[in-house]
Symmetry: C2
Subunit: 131 residues, 2 copies
């Protein structure tokens, strides 16, 4: 399944999408990103948002997260942070301190560029609810 990376071209759409990601406080879904990005003068299609995100991920510029519901969320690698996820209610919140401060650069032949950590458990509310 190895693929040669095609040369990526610079487009104003990707710039806008990157700016929107940078403006976001936490990881956001492609749909949410699309909603924000379409407010601009020139509309950007949802498919383009998905494709841009795919490219960003391949370039290790962005990282996918899968907390909570079935939607994938994306964030800039530069603004990396992990999450607490409640197993009972599904709520999640960003985690300030990174529990994995220094990952090794390599693991065997694998070249490491980043990570995504979800800490599972129960939030305060669900604990008192009898979880």
């Amino acid at each position: 399944m190895t693929q040669q990376l095609p040369r990526t071209r610079k487009t104003w759409q990707r710039d806008v999408i990157l700016q929107a990601m940078d403006a976001a406080k936490c990881h956001i879904t492609a749909e949410e990103l699309h909603r924000r990005v379409r407010r601009g003068v020139r509309p950007i299609g949802l498919a383009t948002v998905y494709r841009a995100l795919e490219t960003f991920v391949r370039e290790a510029l962005a990282e996918p997260v899968h907390v909570g519901d079935g939607k994938v969320r994306y964030g800039l690698t530069a603004k990396h942070h992990d999450h607490l996820v409640c197993l009972n209610c599904g709520e999640w919140e960003p985690l300030n301190e990174c529990l994995l401060p220094r990952t090794p650069r390599r693991l065997g032949t694998f070249k490491v560029t980043g990570h995504q950590l979800d800490v599972y458990g129960y939030c305060a509310q669900c604990q008192t609810a009898g979880a």
Copy 2:
């Protein structure tokens, strides 16, 4: 979104599903689980598999993983392990050593029961391909 946990009842279907999960070497999808489970004497519906998995997750018996494609995979918490995920080709593999051996039991008011770590980067093949 807090929900009271209903008392869960013991059913043979859930036992079968749990056994199938225990027999699996790594995390597997609900569909794959269903395929294995339907081979038995009495068939089990796909919806039941999804519902059982949801219950197991709420009880911290199983943990969801989202490596690679768009499918969610599940594994027993007891057999926990993390993954390496290639950003370019999407391939992934289980990671033997856990990079986060001891998570704190609590983080603020949050009660920690486990975690899921995805280490991102590029596999050997994609590195040589010019990634």
